[in-house]
Amino acid sequence: MTAQNENKAGEQFVYVTYILSTPEKVWKALTERQFTEQFWYGLSVECDWQQGSPWRLLAPDGTLAHTGRVLEVNAPYKLVLAWQHEFISKLKAEGHTRVTFEIKQLEEMVKLTVVQSSDRTDGNTISVMARGWPLLLASLKTLMETGASLKSSRHWPAVRRSA
């Protein structure tokens, strides 16, 4: 079964940002904690990025924010993760979603596509997480292009403005 067939029944969002950078640098930013801590609401990512390996995003106070498993890895172009929301119990109970990062070089830019999908149609994980990604991705772009992330994306817990 392809991811697209699975998505057909469930919910998903597709976010894209264009970054003046290289696929290697964007890959490092998504997979190394010294970068994720700067733009991912202060979260550190932990994983060896091998297919089948567990991964997690940890808050500075040790709170488990998100966990999962690496489903597919093709550095620095594609990463597919099983994604379990951990810190809101209602969302945790909804189980796994799937996040796909695709990184494409387009001349001097990198096109980063993030798709998060769920097989469920009755869940809230997709709509809640859909609100967090835009700031995160804007901050990642700013970090890559200027060397500094957006302040509002640096701290945990994330400030959730009503979208």
Binding site: Q4, N7, Y15, V16, Y18, V115, W133, S139, S152
Partner: protein
Amino acid sequence: MDIDTTFRALSHSTRRQLLDRLFERNGQTLSELCDDLGMTRQAVTQHLSILEESNLVVSQMSGREKLHFLNPVPIHHIFSRWIGKYENARLNALALLKDNLERENNDSSK
């Protein structure tokens, strides 16, 4: 993919309406987006292509269907360029100052 492109794309009410529709329900086909819009398919296609060029809409194939998704990331760049600069703390400080000054005015006028 500059801010001018984003503003140009947002400057037309039909395009904002298309974004609103995708906000209500993400991942729609062209036919679904055309429903009750009172416009030709061709006109809607043109508006959608402007939205795609400005990265406010992203399309993906799902089987044989092309689905359209709202991409709010460029709008966040506009937000972070002006509003984000001031940060919440400063905005809160200003709101607090305004409250205090207004209260003082009210007190002194009593």
